[in-house]
């Protein structure tokens, strides 16, 4: 659900007809004994059906994939809960699952995703160590929650339980991730914001908001509570029922004291709350901060001393893939990590899992601004060509290593998930 915006690719009627024909052709390829590589797809078009949570379901990627590989991508975006359900209940309806790691934790044990042989992944060695060992730098501390490396590997091709370390069998290739924090209106807060606890400052009474998506909202609440020194969690990403109770009761009290102005559910709501000045500090996603700024309103994605709440997603292979379809899927994934997509995602403010190859597809200035945290030399453009930042601007939170090196907790699924959701509903009703 993180950073969900409605994007659907390839659903126009014309495209549908085209992809339908391509699917038929793809099936013909799949049934024939055709081996050999890249050029084959251009002659015998193949279609891969990808579904996922929408962040990386971008039209531009589907177009470029068609251009480079001749593979037609049929993309469907859903919200995270529907994605989890679809992954499990309709395993034949997709070829590639584009899902977040915490969803994978629920989905993989049901056997609908097949592990990948890392020797077939051209760029495996270049994938950032965060997804292999949990440490971005050798001295980093492993964050709480569903850290991607804990669900990244299995022992063998038929295994459905996660392995403790690197094994050569990858559950998903990481593609996109980011570090989330609080967004603020620097012109309206009137003081320096340094901690998650600042959202509970009585000075901001009635001017704060948090996200009303239980699995993410509870994490933001946990970051806030821990920062206030009210509680120390064993694992913020997997709370005990007592910890859930304490967190929810804290939230209910804050709500009844009038600390919150609103609870937002969709991207645009958070943008409107911030740009209208109803709220001066709130949970936010990085594209929403960019959207507020693009209206000429000051908005900062404020780095906080307790660290970031992070999320990550990747591509998994459906269990039913075999033969030519499987080859095509591997080739698609190798293309995905070969740089063009990485550069595209980096330029949107997300991070690519293969930084080395992405660098080749970014200008020196873009690399400096987005990844190294250096001041921009000239205009920084969004992928659609609009000016996002002008010369001299510095990215909030600084460089890639500064931001991803300070992850306190990953989005996660709790063992007490159902109980947590029920209590969260009580908070909203209270």
């Amino acid at each position: 659900m993180t950073e969900f915006t409605e994007r659907k690719a390839g659903i126009s009627r014309r495209n549908f007809l085209k992809t339908g024909a391509a699917a038929a052709a793809g099936a013909a390829v799949g049934s024939g004994a055709i081996t050999g590589f890249p050029t084959i797809w251009a002659q015998n078009p193949i279609t891969l059906r990808q579904f996922g949570t929408g962040v990386s379901n971008l039209n531009a990627i589907a177009e470029k994939c068609k251009e480079d590989l001749g593979i037609t991508l049929e993309m469907t975006a859903t919200d995270s809960d529907a994605a989890a359900q679809r992954a499990v209940t309709q395993p034949d309806s997709y070829d590639i699952a584009d899902i977040e790691y915490w969803i994978l934790k629920k989905v993989f044990p049901t056997g609908v995703i097949q592990p990948m042989d890392t020797s077939r992944l051209t760029y495996y060695d270049q994938i950032v160590p965060l997804f292999k060992t949990g440490k971005l730098l050798p001295d980093s501390v492993i964050a709480q929650g569903t850290a991607p490396h804990t669900v990244g590997f299995v022992e063998g091709p038929d295994s459905t339980t996660f392995a403790a370390g690197e094994t050569g069998w990858f559950t998903m290739v990481p593609t996109i991730y980011n570090a989330d924090t609080l967004g603020i209106r620097p012109d309206l807060v009137g003081r320096e914001i340094t901690s998650w606890a600042d959202i509970m400052d009585p000075a901001f009474k009635g001017k704060t908001a948090i996200i009303n998506v239980p699995s993410i909202g509870i994490m933001d609440a946990a970051m806030i509570m821990e920062a206030m020194g009210e509680i120390t969690y064993g694992d913020k990403g997997n709370m005990t029922t007592e910890e859930i109770d304490a967190t929810i009761e804290f939230l209910i009290k804050a709500k009844q004291d009038g600390q919150f102005r609103a609870f937002w559910k969709s991207f645009d709501e958070s943008v409107n709350l911030m740009s209208s000045g109803e709220v001066v500090i709130q949970s936010m996603w990085s594209p929403a901060v960019a959207a507020v700024r693009s209206k000429g309103i000051a908005c900062t994605y404020q780095p906080l001393k307790e660290g970031y709440r992070s999320w990550g997603g990747g591509l998994g292979l459906a269990a039913h893939l075999e033969g030519a379809m499987l080859d095509a899927a591997y080739e698609y994934i190798n293309w995905y990590t070969s740089g063009w997509v990485g550069g595209y995602l980096n330029r949107q403010g997300y991070y690519s899992a293969n930084m080395e190859s992405a660098r080749n597809h970014m200008s020196e200035d873009e690399w400096g601004y987005w990844i190294e945290g250096k001041p921009a030399q000239g205009d920084i453009l969004a992928p659609d060509g609009t000016v996002m930042e002008t010369a001299g601007a510095v990215r909030d939170g600084g460089s890639f290593e500064e931001r991803m090196g300070k992850v306190a907790c990953w989005n996660s699924v709790m063992d007490e998930d159902r109980y947590m959701v029920r209590r969260w509903n009580e908070f909203i009703a209270a």
Binding site: D79, D81, A82, A84, Q85, V88, T89, K106, T110, G206, A209, N212, P214, K255, F260, R261, A262, F263, W264, K265, N272, L273, S276, G277, E278, D417, V421, R422, N425, E426, I428, A429, A430
Partner: protein, 285 residues
């Protein structure tokens, strides 16, 4: 043979409607009831006969508080729309003289309905917000020292938006019944020495009751089933029954939502039955 055919005729005539109702109304409700007894987890629903869903719905203080909150909205919105709706209909029916003018004015009432529900609702946000039209005007005029917070993201905002959205549903049926009131009754009352307010109270109001009852059914069912207005206008701070159901559905807890829907359905049917007991709407139809 002829006798048999003539006895069967009404049944044959009723068959198409009966089939449509059975397929599109009874069957879905039946499914809803069946599913409400099923078990579920994140991956799917499992046929079962368990009452846990109902225990969770009825045993939680959240449900009771949410129902109470929804009923409060229903009562407030009903009272305001009935009052406003009655006077608008009264004006249209008794003060506007020509039928043409009546129809023109009535159509003007419906103009806002040419835009979407959501747009009419969201339009309130820039009006009521902290830096919105009302607050800016009040602050600049020196009437209040700082913006009034409770204008937006509050129960006030929810009720205001609902009244705006639903008043026409009250105006239309009341106007309709008022148009059928025999004008000679009003003249007779006046000849008998009744004052204006006595005519309204003793003649028009009792005769307009069926219209008010139909309007009430519209407004009450609309408010009870609403989720978007409550979500948007309260900024997610307030809960409604339908919103609770939507939350459950977005988490794929369909059986729990079905149990909730059954409870809501029963409650609304009881309310409608109550209204029908008080006012015989068929008398006027």
């Amino acid at each position: 043979m002829n006798n048999l055919l003539s006895r069967a005729t009404p049944y044959i005539q009723a068959t198409p409607l009966a089939l449509i109702l059975a397929f599109f109304l009874l069957l879905p409700i039946l499914l809803l009831v069946v599913v409400s007894f099923w078990d579920y987890d994140f991956a799917g629903m499992y046929p079962d006969l368990m009452t846990l869903n109902y225990e969770e719905v009825l045993g939680s203080w959240v449900t009771w508080r949410t129902y109470l909150n929804t009923l409060k909205f229903a009562a407030l919105v009903w009272a305001i729309t009935a009052f406003v709706g009655f006077w608008i209909a009264y004006f249209l029916a008794f003060h506007v003289r020509t039928t043409t003018m009546q129809m023109v004015l009535f159509l003007i009432c419906t103009v806002p309905f040419l835009t979407s529900n959501i747009i009419r609702m969201i339009s309130w946000i820039p009006v009521l917000g902290r830096n919105g039209l009302v607050n800016t005007a009040l602050v600049n005029a020196g009437i209040v020292p700082e913006p009034i917070e409770w204008l937006l993201y509050s129960d006030f905002a929810v009720v205001l938006a609902m009244v705006h959205l639903f008043t026409l549903f009250m105006v239309t049926p009341i106007f309709n019944t008022m148009m059928r009131i025999d004008r000679s009754l009003v003249e007779a009352a006046r000849d008998g020495g009744a004052r204006n307010w006595q005519i309204i109270w003793h003649v028009i109001l009792p005769l307009a009751k069926p219209g008010i009852a139909i309007g009430t059914i519209f407004v009450v069912t609309l408010v009870m089933a609403d989720f978007s207005t409550v979500q948007v206008m309260s900024g997610g701070q307030s809960a409604s029954v339908a919103l609770m159901m939507r939350n459950q559905m977005s988490l794929l807890q369909y059986p729990a939502a079905a149990a909730n829907a059954v409870v809501l359905l029963v409650l609304v049917l009881v309310m409608v039955a109550g209204i029908l007991r008080i006012v015989d709407i068929r008398k006027e139809l």
